[in-house]
């Protein structure tokens, strides 16, 4: 049944009135020269070859075009035959594209890939769209409708009518109606059909609609009027969404700042150590993610989606251990001497950067996104990416866990005691040097897990940390030293302020403005948003 539907679709599109038996497949001898023509001298020839292939209406065409688009079609240099290739060591495992028969493997150097460019890729997806609109597979039908929505080919209107009538899935049906409306707007249809199409299009994704309607803006008569009315209503709707977008993007930027700064809020905020190597702790966390992923790639590729979960404790341990080491070997001799601490940790940061550079090389390393971090979803006309969303969630959970540690555990209690009154805490039997080391380790470890998250959206290079150190200090100082809530509010408000300034002032000026605002704010309130009160802080 499905097969017949597919065939009738092909007939309809091509307007060929053949016998079913003839059109079902063209014979191999007819198909072969057409496939051979795909390896044309230039892209124009290949484009022509594609349309010739589609005209045959043969069911093998869609998989052939898929292979072409995916770069799996090769031509051998010697006899110019086209074959389907798959990399296998230094050879291509070859298959005949027409019969599907296995051929002798071809050495890589003896074959050339048939190149496709963006224009060809568009042609291919439009052609496949036409061929698979009646497919049994819902995913294929959806991408077919999307392809036609993009190509706006007026010739596909009758085909779309058939497909819409046969479609059961409401979301795909809606998409097909959109595609039909887009094609109608692009065709010489009568005015009333176009006005109906304008109404149809305006109901869909407003950004796509704008793209379809703007060319009609200058049109005369009722079509132009309808288009202008639709555009102005879409624009006023988009203005509201813009504000929403700024807030969401601001929260996302804020959560990145929060992640980068929260470890510093412990080492700088709670302990008062100016740790210039904080950024490098983040960087080490990111490199730990890389190492974990490398190990997973070689030993157990199946669990790659969990690589970040495995990297989290590893990064915490790695950065935390290095933090403890730095505290024990350098910083503990420098308590109460902020200038020396600053210089020493600056030196450590250079050493760590260069060490990573010598070890892993100066280039970026590739940290993969697990499938659940990739891609995006639409919220109205906004596109929100999963990676950013997960990072917001992650930043907030790290914050919550850290609060719990500080407020509810023995270590947290001791940390707070030592911060507030070191001598009294020591008199009560707390081993303050150990608490110092563990606190510094905790701050560094949290910087490490921030690195796991940042590896998903930023470069993983030895310079990773440098990009975040200034921002981190800014957040901590702005939010109020010694107060985690201040760090949270500080990060979020800086993020949102940045995103509201960016569209007006541009990214460069926006950043400068934020910096100026912070300087003015600090003049007014030297202790930041949430200042710690009491005598302890003066000590």
């Amino acid at each position: 049944m499905q097969f017949i539907r597919l065939l009738s679709a092909i007939f309809l599109m091509l307007g060929i009135l053949h016998h079913a038996a003839n059109a079902q497949t063209v014979d191999d001898a007819t198909l072969r020269p057409l496939v051979q023509a795909l390896a044309g001298e230039n892209f124009d020839n290949t484009t022509k070859a594609i349309s010739d292939l589609v005209k045959t209406g043969d069911p093998r065409v869609s998989s052939l075009l898929n292979a072409l688009g995916g770069g799996d079609l090769y031509v051998s240099k010697a006899d110019k035959t086209v074959f389907l290739g798959k990399r296998q060591g230094s050879d291509y495992a070859a298959t005949d594209p027409v019969t599907g028969a296995t051929l002798a493997p071809v050495p890589r150097s003896a074959a050339e890939k048939i190149k496709v460019n963006n224009r060809l890729r568009r042609e291919i997806s439009a052609a496949i769209g036409g061929l698979t609109l009646m497919s049994e597979n819902a995913g294929e039908r959806r991408s077919a409708a999307e392809a036609i929505l993009k190509s706006r080919d007026p010739e596909s209107i009758p085909l779309l009518d058939r497909a819409i009538a046969a479609e059961n899935d409401p979301s795909i049906k809606a998409l097909m109606s959109q595609a039909k409306a887009a094609a109608v707007l692009n065709s010489g249809s009568p005015d009333d059909a176009k006005i109906a199409a304008i109404a149809e299009v305006s109901g869909g994704n407003s950004r796509d609609a704008l793209g379809l309607l703007t060319p009609l803006e200058g049109a005369e008569g009722p079509v132009g009027d309808a288009a202008r009315a639709a555009i102005s209503s879409i624009n006023s709707e988009l203005a509201i969404w813009n504000a929403v977008q700024n807030i969401v993007y601001g929260l996302s930027l804020g959560s990145v700042l929060l992640l980068a700064a929260i470890g510093l809020a412990i080492t700088f905020g709670v302990m008062g150590v100016i740790n210039m190597a904080h950024g490098e702790m983040v960087m080490i966390g990111a490199y730990t993610t890389f190492v974990v992923q490398q190990i997973i790639r070689t030993t157990a590729p199946g669990i790659f989606d969990y690589s970040l979960l495995i990297a989290l404790p590893a990064a915490f341990m790695a950065s935390g251990a290095i933090g403890v080491l730095i505290e024990r070997s350098v910083i503990r001799f420098l308590y109460g001497r902020p200038l020396e601490t600053l210089l020493a940790t600056w030196g450590i940061s250079l050493v760590l950067q260069q060490a990573i550079r010598s070890w892993f090389g100066a280039s970026n390393v590739q940290v993969g996104n697990p499938s659940w971090m990739a891609g995006s979803f639409d919220l109205g006309p906004l596109t929100l990416t999963w990676s950013r969303l997960w990072i917001i969630v992650f930043a907030l959970s790290v914050f919550a866990i850290l609060q719990l540690v500080l407020k509810k555990t023995m270590l947290g209690l001791r940390m707070r005691a030592v911060t507030q009154n070191r001598r009294m805490a020591a008199s009560m039997g707390i081993r303050t040097p150990w608490v110092d080391a563990l606190t510094f380790g905790l701050g560094s470890g949290i910087a490490g897990i921030a690195g796991v998250a940042l590896s998903q959206i930023d470069n993983v290079s030895p310079n990773l940390g440098q990009g975040y150190i200034i921002d981190s200090f800014m957040v901590v100082v702005f939010g109020g030293v010694g107060n985690l809530w201040g760090t949270l509010v500080g990060a979020m408000s800086l993020g949102i302020a940045n995103k509201f300034l960016e569209p007006f002032a541009g990214a460069v000026l926006g950043k400068i403005l934020v910096l100026v605002l912070i300087i003015l704010f600090i003049q007014k309130r030297p202790r930041g948003l949430f200042a710690l009160k009491g005598r302890a802080i003066e000590a």
Partner: protein, 432 residues
């Protein structure tokens, strides 16, 4: 007490950036010819420049295997200017005055080149600069073996307009001299071709920008005006990875809004999963995927030298290769490494490039090159989809800027002028 440190950080950070390490101090040996290598091995630019240092060491080793030049072995003197522009000038002076190098190969950013330029002119030494740049400069002592805007940006825009039918342009760049000048030239060029101002969007971001959400969504918005839209990216090094990740995540495919980049090559793609980026473009004068025997040999020898067959080759490496061979040939022709003699003998020198042809040093100290447009593939390499039919001569003074369109440069005697104004007939006719 805790607000003070924030102030310290700024000043001390600036002071501490100055700290750097000089590597392999020159040992005194008179029977060698010393070659200076001035590339950042630490700091933000190390990511790009370290490879060029390795390339130079590789080329010098190869040359020494062939017996060196003029019967003498070459000796590399490597210094690390640490991505710090003033330090470039200091290190250049050290190379020329203390180490007495015959020529210097180095610099990446235009800021670093502008910083060393007066040093080379004052001490009359030679600099070979291997990176694409914004043009608008021609010095007697500098040889520009990377692309000028007409060897990269303009052919790329032409390709997009013709092959993809692009009518609306986003010019996105990092906020410094190369993107700004290039975009100025491109805007003048597009306007001259009839593109209206409302169809051009120019956007600048700071170095190392990592939050691209707003800009990518702006690009999407700009692209939904019913006209085919493309992004011309002069975004620098580090900021590219988050930019492309955001593009991929927001679902902008090359078929919808292609991005053509002038600073993204094989090396930059190394840190990226390129599957979602297939079809985005780059314009260069060389790609690792160039199908030429000389390229295959170069890659093989490079892999042997660096002992890692995963290492990629890229355009600035080819420019270094060309510059080095031109210098070798010019020294051999002059019979001496004296700067004045080499400057006279190098114009017209022609050496093989890696795309199967040969490149010639022109009187304006720029070279001839083919322009290639490549599309990103899923393996991090580029498929060449277009190549200019002939070689393109580097144009130092852009024909599209009002201040420079009357200027030409010709360092041959008797003109020997870097900015001759053909309108007024005088040398030194710089109008900017």
């Amino acid at each position: 007490m805790f607000t003070l440190p924030a102030r310290f950080i700024g000043t001390l950070a600036a002071a501490a950036i100055g700290a750097s390490l000089a590597m392999s101090p020159a040992s005194a040996a008179d029977d060698t010819i010393k070659v200076g290598i001035l590339h950042s091995l630490s700091g933000t630019m190390a990511i790009s420049e370290t490879t060029l240092k390795d390339t130079m060491l590789f080329l010098i080793e190869e040359q020494n295997k062939k017996g060196g030049i003029l019967g003498k072995k070459l000796e590399a003197v490597v210094v690390d200017p640490a991505s710090d522009w003033p330090l470039f000038a200091e290190k250049a002076r050290q190379l020329i005055e203390q180490d007495k190098v015959a020529a210097v190969f180095g610099c990446w950013t235009s800021s670093s080149r502008k910083s060393v330029l007066p040093v080379f002119e004052e001490l009359n030494s030679l600099l070979f600069y291997p990176v694409q740049y914004e043009g608008e400069e021609s010095s007697r002592n500098v040889f520009y073996t990377g692309a000028a805007p007409n060897q990269q940006a303009i052919p790329a825009v032409d390709y997009l307009a013709k092959e993809e039918g692009v009518e609306r342009w986003v010019l996105a760049g990092t906020d410094y001299v190369y993107p700004q000048t290039t975009n100025k030239i491109l805007k003048a060029y597009l306007n001259a071709k009839g593109v209206k101002d409302e169809d051009i969007m120019i956007n600048y971001t700071p170095f190392g920008h990592s939050d691209w959400q707003t800009i990518v969504s702006d690009i999407k918005k700009f692209g939904s005006a019913g006209k085919k839209t493309a992004v011309v990216s002069t975004i620098n090094g580090d900021a590219n990875v988050p930019f492309y990740k955001e593009l991929a995540n927001q679902g902008i495919k090359a078929e919808d809004i292609p991005v053509v980049a002038f600073s993204v090559g094989e090396e930059e793609l190394a840190g990226l999963d390129t599957k979602p980026l297939v079809g985005h473009l780059a314009a260069w004068n060389y790609f690792q995927s160039v199908d030429a025997d000389v390229n295959a040999d170069f890659i093989k020898e490079w892999h042997t030298y660096i002992k890692n067959d995963k290492r990629v080759t890229n355009d600035p490496m080819e420019a270094t290769f060309i510059g080095f061979n031109m210098w070798v040939k010019a020294v051999e022709a002059a019979g001496t490494t004296d700067s004045g003699a080499v400057i006279d003998s190098i114009v017209g020198v022609s050496v093989p490039n890696l795309s199967g042809g040969s490149s010639t040093m022109m009187p304006n100290h720029h070279i001839t090159k083919p322009v290639l447009i490549g599309e990103v593939q899923d393996d991090g390499q580029f498929d060449i989809v277009y190549q200019t039919p002939g070689l393109v001569v580097g144009d130092e003074w852009s024909d599209y800027l009002p201040g420079s369109k009357d200027l030409i440069s010709d360092w041959r005697k008797p003109m020997a002028c870097g900015n001759f104004n053909v309108a007024s007939g005088k040398c030194g006719g710089v109008t900017n």
